[in-house]
């Protein structure tokens, strides 16, 4: 059974209270230039809450925890994004939030039946191939974006969920092994390694090295899960070889990284305050200005800095809302990831999938938060659910859908199959008993 931990009505009250209290803060401490803007924002937030709740009521589902948490985070994000540099509803971000919710449901529906998705994994490979092609041939000068009219899509964002699914599939199907040179390698592990290699090469080619650690983390997680898997029976020698290879790759990547990456790896931001360290210095100053409780919604100055709503969004929130609010939002995302621990996956495919999703989210959050605060090199990736960007939001929504699917119960036919197995075992035992008796 699902553990929702909180009653449905309790969750609804908490959801509304969170958003209303934030809107109250905007009203009290925010810089509202036109009351209509504030009303529009309030309408959008409450409207999205009610709308999504009505939709979820329409089709019954066994869990609501993740839906509520996602909705809560998205509307918090909408309020944040609508207050940078003054109160005005960010329609673009509202659309992103709606797309994120839709992607979440899509992710859930597509991945909840692990047998189905495993059977159709070839389509995931095809999808990854299409995404590769689109990046190579259809992206702009920066090799990141496909622009259609006024919309821009970042295809590499969509590779993340696909890669996690490929990782999960490769772990579960370890039985068929091929002998290559001196090693026995499963076909799927080999495919995974090739896909991973292609992704890393593509990211390197695109100069999108910010996403590389996220993919690396997902791959590392898959590797670790493979070692955890009892059926894999991996020798210590293989583990040592893999670790050594990993270290060598890291050293090589560190030394071969392009100049602009080397600069970021070694930059003393305060010595180069108006150069490579500009964004981070401004971000840290903004956080200091905001203190624990912030300057008030719309009262910050970081909105003038490039990428204030994406790469250094954590600092922008800290400045306007305070470190306390920013930390609470991060905690909310972490609690959402922790729901996997309350409702453990029922099969190894889903377990691996949820681990991959958690790894991706945590790595991306680390890169964004710790990078903008100069704890680690600044990579310029988005903060899940909070940063502006439709592709990122959709990808994150799909990942949450996968997280939700990972907590889904076994399907009826599986339950029946297990029951039948148990009945057969019982019948066999009973027959054996009877045989023994008759023999006696």
């Amino acid at each position: 059974m699902y553990k929702n931990r909180l009653s449905y009505s309790g969750a609804v009250i908490l959801l509304f209270l969170t958003h209303l209290s934030m809107l109250g803060l905007v009203f009290i401490r925010g810089s509202i230039a036109a009351p209509m803007d504030f009303l529009k924002l309030t309408g959008a937030v409450i409207g999205l809450d009610i709308g999504y709740l009505l939709i979820t009521l329409w089709y019954k589902q066994m869990t609501y925890t993740l839906d509520f948490m996602l909705l809560c985070i998205l509307n918090i994000s909408l309020i944040f994004q609508s207050c940078f540099g003054g109160i005005h509803l960010s329609v673009k971000h509202l659309i992103s939030c709606v797309m994120c919710l839709a992607a979440c449901e899509a992710g859930f529906l597509l991945t909840r039946n692990h047998e189905w998705i495993r059977k159709n994994k070839k389509y995931i490979y095809i999808l990854i191939f299409i995404l590769f092609i689109s990046i190579i041939f259809f992206t702009d000068n920066q090799k990141k974006w496909i622009t259609i009219g006024s919309f821009s899509i970042q295809p590499s964002e969509f590779i993340k969920p696909c890669f996690i699914l490929v990782c999960a599939a490769s772990i579960v199907e370890l039985h068929e092994k091929l002998k290559i040179a001196f090693f026995y390698i499963s076909k799927d592990s080999l495919t995974l390694c090739i896909v991973a290699l292609f992704i890393f090469a593509l990211q390197w080619w695109c100069h999108d090295l910010g996403s590389l650690p996220t993919f690396g983390m997902i791959f590392l997680c898959a590797l670790f899960c493979r070692f955890c898997y009892p059926k894999a029976k991996i020798s210590k020698r293989v583990v040592a070889i893999v670790c050594a290879a990993g270290v060598l790759v890291l050293i090589a990547a560190w030394n071969l990284a392009p100049d602009y990456v080397q600069k970021r790896l070694h930059v003393d931001i305060w010595a180069d305050r108006y150069g490579d360290g500009y964004q981070q210095c401004e971000a840290l100053i903004g956080i200091a200005k905001g203190g624990w409780l912030g300057l008030g919604a719309g009262n910050g100055s970081l909105y003038k800095i490039f990428a204030h709503d994406s790469d250094i969004v954590f600092a922008t929130i800290c400045e306007e809302w305070g470190l306390l609010y920013a930390a609470l939002t991060i905690m909310l995302i972490l609690i959402m990831l922790m729901t996997v621990l309350m409702n453990p996956p029922k099969n190894y495919y889903h377990a691996m999938m949820t681990a991959g999703v958690t790894a991706a989210f945590l790595m991306q959050m680390s890169l964004n938060i710790f990078g903008s605060c100069n704890l680690i090199p600044f990579t310029g990736v988005t903060l899940p659910f909070i940063s502006a960007g439709g592709s990122s939001m959709m990808s994150c929504g799909f990942l949450v859908g996968m997280l939700k699917a990972g907590q889904s119960p076994l399907f009826q036919h599986e339950v029946m199959k297990r029951k039948r197995q148990k009945q057969r075992q019982k019948a066999r035992k009973a027959a054996q008993k009877q045989q023994r008796r008759s023999a006696a």
Partner: protein
């Protein structure tokens, strides 16, 4: 299910690592907020005081309050909050001075401050003693590590707010005490220590070499002595006092003193020998001070021999020369690390960053330190008895040729052998010519003023 539990363990571990890193970030942001905000805009700043309460830094200072050249002697040491000079006490500790707390924001009447070990009056007196000459001087308590004076001339008057930047003399914006210079014959201290470490005192004192004014080394090159007529036959104590170059060239060539032993002793003292290893820095409350470096190729090599006598490729900072004195003066071979900040107060007035005496690793043995001390005191008694009458002072002077021999810097480093007045010091005068103010003149002013500062009642009574 076991495998699923393991995966859950992995997820838990990842979450915990992230949480720990986030907690660290929150701690860092809270503690460093003052530094960040001081980089932002004009904010209420605290003061830096000297050991007697004199102001050394005031963000709102002007000439009417303090006098037009009040800060001249400490301009390039203390610096200001304009970021024109980064390697200064204020520049490196600006976060401590911001009257700002992460919890309460800016506090107009905050009590953030830094209390320094410097004695501004003595510092200024020594600065004035340089007269028209440029140079630098530094002195500290070799038992506790408190720096009492540290100055570098030419300096910058921060009250001019850098309006005269173009007309400033070269080197005005940095404190030369922390930067490398050619040490001249003060390097003979290190070479003598290396010889003591390698050969022992008895063997070393038994060695005597002849100086006829010029010595042709085994590579056939001439090493000239500053005394053209030569010093005759001398032992180490005499040669050290005479600063005899031929003696030290022959000592370096002597098979009883392997070059490897010199390298090892130098490395233990903190030298970067032949570019091996990383450039070391002495950290004085955030201020980076360069340490020594030299190049040693072979015992008979002309440049190596000069390197052991403070020319060639040898570079040492005056601060480092002073710090070595502490390891000799306290007779342990372990130096006392110098510091400038005695303590600081937070915005709330709470005392923080209270200084504690710390020590270096063992640079040379106690026995070598003891004999070196005797050799230096002997030199002090013979040649510098007037520095501080009635008290033994261990000294070594040096003349360093710079700018391809066109100029000569004069150096003097030493220590006072008195536990009640434990001062180690180093003085440098740039481009000194005979007849001008000498390093011993400045040393007299320095030691006399410091003594008065140490024992004010005694001096008042007299």
């Amino acid at each position: 299910m076991k495998s699923i539990r393991r995966v859950q363990g992995l997820i838990t571990a990842m979450l915990l690592i992230f949480l720990a890193a986030f907690a660290f970030l929150v701690y860092k942001l809270q503690t460093e907020a003052g530094f960040y905000i001081s980089n932002a805009s004009k904010i209420s700043m605290g003061f830096i005081y000297d050991r007697n309460g004199d102001v050394l830094f005031d963000a709102d200072a002007d000439a009417q309050i303090y006098g037009s050249d009040y800060f001249i002697d400490i301009g390039n040491l203390i610096g200001d909050n304009s970021r024109q000079m980064s390697n200064t006490l204020a520049g490196k500790n600006i976060g401590m001075l911001a009257n700002f707390s992460f919890m309460l924001g800016e506090q107009e009447n905050g009590q953030a401050s830094i209390h320094c070990t410097l004695d501004h009056k003595v510092n200024r007196d020594v600065y004035d003693a340089f007269g028209k000459k440029n140079g630098c001087a530094v002195a500290y308590n070799y038992l506790t590590g408190e720096i009492y004076l540290c100055l570098s001339k030419p300096s910058v008057n921060i009250l001019n707010h850098y309006e005269d930047l173009d007309s400033l003399e070269t080197g005005s914006l940095l404190c030369k005490v922390f930067y490398p210079t050619v040490p001249g014959s003060t390097q003979k201290i290190s070479t003598t220590l290396a010889a003591l470490e390698s050969m022992g005192y008895d063997n070393l004192i038994s060695k005597s070499y002849d100086c006829s004014g010029v010595y042709t080394n085994l590579d056939g090159k001439d090493i000239r002595c500053h005394l053209e007529s030569g010093h005759g036959t001398q032992n180490i104590t005499e040669a050290f006092a005479n600063s005899c170059n031929p003696f030290f060239a022959q000592l370096v060539e002597d098979p009883a003193l392997p070059l490897y032993d010199i390298e090892k002793t130098y490395e233990k003292m903190g030298y970067l020998v032949n570019g091996k290893g990383n450039q070391n820095y002495l950290d004085i409350n955030g201020i980076s001070a360069f340490t020594a470096s030299t190049s040693l190729k072979s015992k008979t090599d002309f440049n190596t021999q000069w390197g052991c006598m403070g020319q060639g490729e040898t570079l040492v900072s005056p601060l480092q020369l002073m710090v070595w004195q502490s390891a000799i003066a306290n007779g342990t071979g372990i130096a006392t690390n110098p510091y400038l900040i005695s303590y600081a107060t937070k915005v709330s007035g709470k005392v923080t960053a209270q200084a504690e005496t710390s020590y270096s690793s063992q640079m040379f043995s106690e026995i070598s330190a003891g004999y070196m001390k005797e050799i230096m005191l002997d030199n002090g008694r013979k040649n510098y008895a007037s520095l501080l009458p009635g008290t033994d002072v261990g000294v070594k002077s040096g003349t360093a040729q710079v700018e391809n021999g066109n100029k000569e810097n004069s150096l003097l480093t030493g220590f006072v052998d008195d536990p009640g007045f434990p001062i180690a010091f180093c003085i440098q005068i740039d481009d000194r010519v005979k007849g001008e103010v000498s390093t011993s003149d400045i040393a007299k002013v320095m030691l006399q003023n410091l003594y008065e500062s140490f024992y004010p009642s005694e001096n008042e009574a007299s």
